[in-house]
Symmetry: C2
């Protein structure tokens, strides 16, 4: 009989086991990050440091480290590569905040608000280039292939999302394509490169890719649900941001699909930017509740979370495996 790992547990899930698992490695990754974001142009470390020191969970580099631990990798190559992954992520955050005109991230003012869009664009470019320099120093063409491909897919996903913005007709399938590209591709790549440095075969690469990809989708779905379910203090971003930006996320897609004619008219107008008051947001919340859209977004997230956990079948044991599983539980349980 195979071993079944159920997704839900009684005690609240936490990222602590994964953080504890990789804390020594993460210390090294942080050193690489701090060293390699330096530049003779002072604005670069100043701006990059604002975001990098700004209390992010470092989820993606943590995944690289935890997956390497799962495979019992004993070397140190993953420190530079995890830093490269975090630089790619930071570059996309800087550009995202410019694209969205965001004012807050992780509870702090965004870099574009403080230093302006031009500086955010260019420092993002710098960090992205630095990421590739780190990968080149590592010297694995396979890692370079995985991360350059992920970077292109992320950018493609962001453009796809931009063209879907304010389009209430966006299908759930297209939405999944978008988040698969803009979020899950880097989660997948962050996990997959651990198999490369640990010199494991293609099947292990694929398994970790699948773990990261499904975790990434679950993570994004829960983020999208939380955007309608929390306040700024707990989330570090404004509640209803997606609503006001006309971002057609899964909660909206479900509520629109399940709504009355009048509800659908409301959602169309809201996504087109003609319903952005606090009263409109309150009505949106009410419709999401009535159509079970938030709960079902979370249910979809649990589905992908279970796929992530099942991807680890036969891989590793002990603390690393337990931490990777609990990370999924944490990701899907955040909204409760």
């Amino acid at each position: 009989m195979g071993q079944v790992t159920p997704l839900r547990r009684n005690q609240p899930a936490s990222l602590d086991p994964m953080m504890k698992l990789v804390s020594a490695d993460m210390h090294n990754v942080n050193s690489v990050i701090l060293t390699r974001m330096q530049s003779d142009v002072p604005l670069i470390p100043e701006l990059a440091g604002h975001l990098i020191a700004g209390g992010g969970k470092r989820m993606r580099p943590m995944l690289t480290l935890a997956c390497a631990r799962l495979l019992d990798y004993q070397g140190a190559r993953h420190h530079k590569l995890a830093a490269a992954v975090e630089f790619i992520h930071t570059a996309t955050l800087l550009h995202d905040d410019v694209v969205d005109g965001s004012n807050t991230r992780r509870g702090r003012r965004t870099a574009n608000l403080i230093w302006g869009n031009p500086a955010s664009v260019l420092v993002g470019d710098f960090l992205f280039s630095r990421a590739f320099e780190l990968m080149v120093e590592d010297g694995s063409l396979r890692v370079l292939r995985i991360l350059s491909n992920a970077s292109a897919v992320i950018a493609e996903g962001e453009v796809n999302q931009l063209t879907a913005q304010r389009q209430i007709a966006t299908s759930e399938a297209r939405y999944l394509d978008i988040i698969g590209a803009k979020t899950a591709a880097l989660f997948a790549a962050a996990c997959r490169i651990a198999a490369v440095v640990a010199e494991r075969d293609e099947a292990v690469e694929e398994a970790l890719d699948s773990y990261g990809r499904n975790l990434g989708i679950a993570f994004q779905l829960v983020d999208d649900a939380i955007d309608y379910a929390s306040d700024e203090a707990t989330m570090g971003k404004d509640a209803g941001d997606d609503f006001r930006d006309g971002k057609v996320t899964l909660p909206v897609i479900l509520a629109h699909a399940r709504g009355s004619e009048a509800d659908r008219k409301f959602w169309r107008e809201a996504m087109e930017g003609r319903r952005t008051s606090d009263a409109d947001l309150a009505l949106a919340m009410q419709l999401l509740e009535a159509t079970n859209a938030i709960a079902d977004t979370q249910a979809r997230a649990r589905h992908y979370g279970q796929l992530a956990i099942d991807s680890l079948a036969g891989l590793g044991t002990g603390a690393a495996r337990a931490a990777l599983i609990e990370a999924v539980e944490f990701a899907v349980a955040r909204a409760y």
Copy 2:
């Protein structure tokens, strides 16, 4: 006795010999460019194609091809790499136009004007990632190192320029650092990688790097002079753009340094954005003329042009060598 190649000649210099030299290769490069800018997200080829098909000279990929020819390289690896160089350049142009808020480039409306800043930022990111994918396919870590380093240096130079913007106190040395990074680094890398694919030694790499770097500086200096010396129809950008943007280029640095107290006050106010009328631009032109600032910027360009030509000492013969030399003459003679 050594051979001396004088910079100036009687007949007007032209890029035609270089274009003719590489036309068959450039056909292949254009195929790679067109194929690899495709995406399932239609906005990407639409926006990228606007700029890529928009009448640029493809100076940088042309240099890769011409340098490969100089070294008698017989393979085809340089086609993908030249396309990668052009993608990096296109990505930086897209981001530059966002940073500067430019409305015209190469005589056409800019992508950011037509599709907005968000799309320009993200499609730039996509092209940049695609450039790395092309390099990874080629598989040379040395080429990857050269171009990832150049990319980081370019971004650093752009941020440096941003922080120098509107600062009349910018020194000529700092200005040369900025253009060395934002323009010359990619010229240098485009030439240098030809030595890598042709499997020549470090000395040849250095020579081509020096050729490209000095050509790039000369090219940028002449561009900066032309910004004050031409109209939109001939240049494809607005005359006086740099003036209105408060860009402290070498002509301004020289005119400011050589001006009277009143002139210096004018330049400071102009760079700070308090003197941007047509009458102010006319006065600026007059001061540039009176201080010989344009002519001396061109003289500096000739100096770097001569360094570029001297870098080719002992390298190649015949049509390739002649074309590379004439490209320098063309670059420095454009303003006359």
